[in-house]
Amino acid sequence: MNDIWTNRLSEYLDGELGNDERVALEAHLATCGQCYAILGELRQVVTLAKALEDREPPNDLWAGIRAGITADAARLTPGRRPGVSGSRRFSLTVPQLLAASIALVLLSGGGVWMALRPTSVADKRERTTITSVAWTSPTDVAVAELQDALARNESRLDTATVRVVRQNLAVIDRAIAEARVALERDPGNTYLNLHLANTMRRKVELLRRVNALAAES
């Protein structure tokens, strides 16, 4: 176990030896049962390390984090991070989602108008560089897949539900289109990017829930 090659076994295992050393070590392994056995055990250690799984913490840490970020928000200039302390978590049913999507559409026209209105220098200073470029393409693909699935499954839903779903998808699509047109004019507009992100996410959620509902029917 203490021969000159023992301390090189990890490098060999990781493919980090030069060619000459690798050939020499392989020749040694052919004659040294002890090094050969150790190499097998080191390989087992590496395999176990790669197979380790993540575990949830025993305690929910969110309360402490929330307290920390709320304190952080209080330090910041008012308006820089809106909604930090007042947001709540919602779990919506399909009917609620449908209602929410209608409300979303009613809001969207005004929202886009607000985003496109002339802005002050101070407003522009508040903008960040978040853009939708990084996530819209995969979302489009996902939405297309979900819509295909819905087309296949909608016969399982009653006619009234299908009609409402289609109507709401159409108005969501119009809201998305409006946001995209507005973003073409003002790609760095934070509000528009977030508005589009939210609308797309709501569309995905709606499609997923309707598909799940159809699958259960």
């Binding site: 980090e16 575990r55 840490l61 809106p82 947001s87 978590r89 960040t128 979302t139 992100a197």
Partner: protein, 183 residues
Amino acid sequence: MPRQVLEDTLTADSIAADTALAASGDATAFERLYRTHVARIHTLVRRMLDADEADDVTQDVFIRAWQKLSTFRGESAFGTWLHRLAVNVVLARRKSVGVERGRFIAADDPLDDVSSKPVTLELSMDFEEALARLPEGARQVFVLHDVEGYRHEEIARMLGVVPGTSKSQLHHARMALRRHLDR
């Protein structure tokens, strides 16, 4: 598109949207990010530091992530960015508390008092226990290289050592863990 690919795409998209929302101050979106990533971050922290520090340091990682979200440019996945932030927080903690570091496994086997069992379904838990017994320097190199997949050059930069030291620490860690498995 295969189902798993579709689900991965949806998950990645949802995370990207939540990241944008959280960057604008939406704490609810940030909570979703927390719930998606907390197991990975807490596990990383627990493996690299002592278990009793894991909760505090994990909370610190997420609070720092919240504070730094405006600097996230989406050049990498949010999870990758968060993971790197966690590694930096852990290494900064290591420096700030002035713990002994860079120590190789001494002549006394640090795993001597770890319970020994044959290879069973419980092996991974025993392995975690054995890992926690390693000296800090060897443990951190082992976690970063063999568990997290960093290269020696990256580890050396993070720890402020030369790559040869990282390789040597890794080998000593593996040998110690091997002896544990060998019992």
